[in-house]
Symmetry: C2
Subunit: 339 residues, 2 copies
């Protein structure tokens, strides 16, 4: 894919993404050009840092969903989906930059994270810049509906992230609260990405709601799988450190399942390591053993598969088409990337 | 002022603010109610942290400028200035939260800063929430002009902050670049605050431009005085630590003036302390002595007074009125608070 301003990387088992990219190629190119153009600033560090995180790749999953949703609703609604897709990616990138600061992450997509290279301060401020720039782009398109959807999603993401912070180290967190966290921090933007695609195509309210539901459910599946992979992944393949969530005392479904099913001794282990953050070198391996004993990863992936199935069911009102096949495939992909 | 949802604090020499508050009392009350209502979230930490920084006071200078600008243009433009003023304050608050993280500040308005109380992570995320909420509020008002002005200002603020980061510890920074920093990080929001007030009142383009210029110039004056006070203030009165800028190696006009006028020995002092960040306990006092020797504080305050005078001149197209007197007084106040 030489010559692309921003290559989309698709790894093993990501054939569905390759097929989707092929279907929306022109729009994706336009989206990537918009991203590069609007990252420009006379302050050189901004495009430098932006290029590090945006241009380095990632799957462009969210903008692809915007473009695919627009296409499935027939396009031609007067709003260019490529530019809305760029807004979605800017918001996503801003949250990634801030997340990595909040999580003190050293790796992102297998490379050094922006905060590790440029420092936390620059990451916070360039995140702010990208967020503001996303709204400038939306203003240029002039759609209050799009701004409503994406400003609401942005507030919801922040709420989800704060809720995650509040539940950290707290093993009494109910599963419903964990689901609130992942709906907010991850799924809300997937839902909004699909919804603004529908809006750009002047879809019917039923189509718009269906695509929003689809996005919400694949977002939930996506995050559940992420949370499973944090205890089960091939580090080199995933491009992130395994055990990050454990070390940070993040409350995720694998932990809640293993803790809930554990005996007194196991519960004491989780309390020491996750609640009190007292960890030794062998603790991660032991945590993974306990999860295997109680099927915590399997339970988490099953829950993800259920969300993926719900996502697919949401699309039933759309007639069969190559783009619909891809979106059904993306739902499967969110789960299959863990196998 | 018991009973106010969010009391406005006016200290010594701030009579002009008291007079201005009296003139726009109802709008300011409405603005404060909007702030409290829209800070609400089911995630309790958000209103808690928000209340710490917003509700604790501050002068509400920016929203006051929005309200005063609207009033001076005759009001009655169909957009409620109180709600736009709340948007301006949300954006300002979001940038304060992120600034304090970036600057690692322990104090804000004489109290422990939000990051010192709630942690950096919560400050970053609640800042994001408030920024998103500001845009939700703007969407509800439905004015693309207002969103254009405030999204542009938000991007400019971030650019100014990043530029400040880039110039940190760099004594070769030209004065023009320092002015770019303060125009971006501070004055852009003052200008936007005044401009959206004019827009809310359906002002003439000339009135809108005049108020934007006024805001830009008092913003510049305000920041110049802030930068002078960092080397000259009465700590208890200012409510912030003196010498913060020095310790952080921030390049401000007092430093540039003293460095530019210094002999070889003095330059070596600045290089060691500001460029190489090697400081001993007595260095701040010595820095202040060198500034006194070269009139660096006086030069900075003179430059601020010039901006304040330009701000006042911008208002010449408005007829005399109590509200105009207050805005002229605010320009004087930005400078007089240093004396």
């Amino acid at each position: 894919m030489a010559g692309d301003p921003l290559p989309v990387r698709a790894g093993d088992g990501e054939d569905v993404l390759v097929a989707l990219v092929a279907l929306v190629r022109d729009d994706l190119d336009a989206c990537n050009r918009t991203i590069v153009e609007h990252m420009h600033s006379p302050v050189a560090l901004i495009p430098q840092l932006g290029a590090h995180i945006v241009a380095a790749g990632g799957k462009r999953l969210r903008p692809l969903l915007t473009l695919a949703s627009a296409r499935m609703c027939g396009g031609q609604g007067g709003l260019p989906p490529a530019r809305l897709a760029a807004c979605v990616e800017f918001i996503h990138t801003a949250t990634l930059l801030h997340d990595d600061v909040v999580d003190e992450s050293a790796l992102r997509r297998g490379l050094a994270s922006a905060n590790a290279v440029f420092g936390n301060k620059a990451s916070v401020l360039v995140g702010d810049f990208l967020f503001a720039r996303a709204f400038q782009l939306m203003v240029a398109e002039g759609s209050l509906r799009v701004m409503d959807i994406l400003s609401r999603a942005s507030a919801t993401i922040a709420e989800g992230e704060v809720l995650q912070l509040v539940t950290q180290n707290d093993l009494s967190t109910p599963e419903s609260r964990y689901l609130d966290v992942i709906r907010g921090k991850t799924a809300a933007l997937f839902a909004a990405a699909c919804q603004v695609g529908a809006v750009s195509a002047a879809s019917s309210p039923a189509q718009e709601a269906a695509l929003s539901d689809y996005g919400m459910n694949i977002g939930i599946a996506f995050q559940l799988v992420d949370d499973a992979l944090d205890y089960a992944a091939d580090e080199a393949k995933l491009g992130k450190t395994v055990g990050d969530d454990f070390r940070e005392g993040k409350i995720t479904l694998p932990v809640l399942v293993a803790y809930g099913a554990g005996d007194a001794e196991e519960r004491a282990f989780w309390q020491r390591t996750v609640e009190e953050s007292e960890q030794t070198e062998d603790d991660l391996a032991h945590a993974m053993d306990l999860m295997a004993r109680h099927g915590a990863i399997r339970t988490t992936l099953d829950r993800a598969a259920r969300s993926a199935a719900e996502a697919k069911a949401s699309l039933s009102l759309f007639p069969d088409s190559p783009i619909k096949s891809c979106l059904l495939g993306v739902a499967d992909y969110t789960v299959s990337r863990a196998r």
